[in-house]
């Protein structure tokens, strides 16, 4: 067994538990905590930088390369990456992969971001109402949240997507409709907790309207977990978009998205594996970056989460 673990490590936030910490006030964090913090911080920074590059590349990139994402060139089908004029190769219709990845990135990132904004809106609204009013209204809303969470989000998303005309806007709305529950729970919990505190009572006594209390006083105080949830929600939305689009019920071709570019790729896995590998890499890169960023933000904004 290695040494370090059964020993109390003074950096831990463990009320009443850690006697070395309690007693010695040695509250010197062990070297490694700092290293870890720094490392996490660096990963979050890297995430932020990659997100910036992906966004810039997707929005400006198409103006910088000589190919159009919809230009079909039958003579250039299945050109492998790094072998000719097309840096990342071409697809089954001879379209430039890089151009398609950039345009697909626009869609995937935009869908992810917009869906996040909408789902945050729904989640904050539902959570704030449930948390502030409590009682029957709050309980009913939160049981509704619980019930929606019983449906695996992909099942719900696909069932709903099958009912509508798929398009960028409708898919974005559907993703938002299946991703707001966690936020509602967070906000409800925060507001229920904050409501007990004095300042909400004070505002109430001063005659502020209910809405004013909720959105002026309480929501800003719950902002740290909301920001973290928002970042993680972008990652979730990008993933969900890729799932439905891959399965054929999301963004419809010819509009490219990272997800639907993979829709046909499995057929060509033997002859043109880059069709499958490249878009997936970009999804993974984007989602990982948002997740690391969210994780770093949680560390920075909420020191109580240190242990996890």
């Amino acid at each position: 067994m290695s040494s370090s673990i059964f020993d109390s490590s003074p950096g831990d936030s463990n009320p009443g538990g850690d006697f070395a910490a309690r007693e010695a006030a040695i509250a010197l964090p062990p070297r490694n905590t700092a290293l870890r913090r720094f490392c996490r911080h660096r990963l979050a920074m890297a995430g932020a930088i990659i997100i910036a590059i992906l966004v810039l590349g997707s929005y400006l990139g198409p103006y910088l390369i000589p190919y159009d994402d919809t230009f079909i060139d039958i003579m250039q089908r299945f050109a492998p990456p790094f072998s000719g004029a097309h840096i990342l190769g071409t697809d089954e219709l001879g379209r430039d992969m890089l151009a398609r990845l950039m345009m697909g990135g626009r869609i995937s990132l935009a869908v992810g971001f917009t869906a996040m904004v909408i789902s945050m809106g729904i989640g904050i609204l539902v959570g704030a109402i449930a948390g502030y009013y409590g009682g029957i209204v709050g309980a009913a809303l939160m049981r509704f949240v619980d019930a929606v969470l019983c449906f695996p989000s992909i099942f719900l998303l696909l069932a709903l997507a099958a009912l509508i005309e798929p398009g960028v806007a409708s898919i974005t709305l559907l993703i938002a409709a299946t991703a707001w529950m966690d936020v509602a729970r967070i906000v409800e919990g925060q507001i229920r907790g904050l409501r007990e505190r004095d300042f909400a009572v004070a505002a109430e006594a001063l005659g502020a309207s209910d809405l004013r209390i909720v959105f002026r006083e309480l929501v800003p105080n719950a902002v740290a977990p909301i920001v973290v949830a928002a970042t993680l929600n972008v990652a979730k939305a990008i993933l969900l978009e890729s799932y439905v689009s891959y399965l054929g019920y999301g963004i419809q071709p010819p509009t490219p998205s990272w997800g639907n570019m993979l829709n046909n790729a499995q057929i060509y896995l033997t002859s043109a594996p880059w069709l499958a590998i490249l878009p997936g890499l970009f999804i993974t890169l984007a989602v990982t970056s948002f997740n690391f960023l969210g994780d770093g933000l949680r560390d920075a904004l909420d020191p109580r989460m240190e242990n996890h």
Binding site: F6, F155, L158, I277, N291
Partner: protein
């Protein structure tokens, strides 16, 4: 213990009721609603449709329709598939085995790997292994499952030729060995996300435990570190994992759907997708309700198991 479980059971029933309302609402959002079967691709006149609607009781108030629908659901009458005329429950049942096999294999794999990674990460906290496990888990949670499936097929089937690229068995073979051979890749793919989740929860649970006073007590007794780990830390650290297991059902089901699609695995998820493309709404609805019920049952089972495993709950 009993009052606690009764309360939890009551909550689950209540939740199932809300779930069924959502399901009913979705059913009526479908184009043509419960009439879709007749409305799509048939040449019935509006009068015919109205008459059928009346016969089916669709002209009555929604709450009445809901009550009837719920009653039929509880009685096991989940409607018939548009596609092959079979009862929905029967159709689901014939695909359930394949899904459960995949989910169970992946879960066992994930629990085994995830717990080990988590425990080692906690014991050697801040070691190189711990960093790699942390970063690896984060990346694993960010990889789209279907893409990981594609990459797995590319590597192990296309390039190396070790594993079959799909299906549950080779046509005409179907031996146990053949089935296991087909199971490896999809189970591995489905297990990826689960392993990441298990390792994270296990690590944090273990860290909570090893900093507890009773671990220090056990050391002060003169127990060697390894025995402190196995006799005192492990059981306490595994307790919250029961709850984690109960919460994995939605992730598992969603992952199974995607994995089954990539590997043409004849399970419930694949049936769901096929049913969607056929606009087979009764089956789509059936699977949606069935999966929600599985999620609920998973949670309930975890709660019951926890109550049995944790002596502190017995006070009620």
């Amino acid at each position: 213990m009993a009052p606690y479980l009764i309360r939890r059971f009551g909550q689950a029933v209540l939740l199932l009721l809300v779930v069924s309302m959502i399901g009913f609402a979705i059913l009526h959002l479908a184009p043509g609603g419960p009439m879709a079967q007749y409305a799509i691709g048939s040449n019935m006149s509006q009068e015919d449709l109205d008459r059928i609607a009346q016969q089916l009781g669709l002209d009555r108030p929604l709450p009445v329709q809901y009550a009837e629908w719920l009653w039929r659901m509880l009685g096991g009458d989940w409607g018939t598939s548009f596609r092959d005329g079979q009862p929905v429950l029967h159709v689901i049942g014939s695909h359930l085995g394949a899904t459960l096999q995949l989910m169970l294999t992946a879960t066992l794999l994930a629990i085994f790997l995830g717990c080990w990674i988590g425990i080692l990460g906690a014991i050697r906290r801040y070691s190189v292994f711990d960093y790699l496990a942390t970063i690896g888990a984060m990346v694993a949670l960010s990889i789209p499952t279907f893409w990981f499936g594609l990459v797995t097929i590319f590597v192990f089937s296309v390039e190396l030729g070790w594993l079959p690229a799909g299906n549950r068995e080779t046509v005409g073979d179907g031996s146990l060995l053949d089935m296991l051979h087909h199971l490896i890749a999809p189970a591995m793919v489905l297990a990826l996300v689960e392993t990441a989740i298990w390792s994270r929860f296990m690590r944090s649970s273990m860290l909570d435990v090893v900093n507890q006073d009773y671990i220090r007590t056990a050391r002060a007794k003169g127990l060697p570190r390894f025995k402190v780990l196995t006799r005192h830390a492990l059981r306490n650290a595994l307790l919250p994992m029961i709850t984690v297991a109960g919460l994995q059902m939605p992730t598992l089901l969603g992952g199974a759907l995607v994995t089954e699609t990539v590997f043409t695995w004849p399970g419930m998820g694949r049936l769901f997708l096929d049913s969607i493309s056929y606009r087979d709404y009764p089956v789509v609805m059936g699977i949606l309700m069935f999966s929600a019920a599985m999620v609920l049952i998973g949670n309930l089972l975890a709660d019951m198991l926890y109550a049995v495993a944790d002596p502190r709950i017995r006070l009620g």
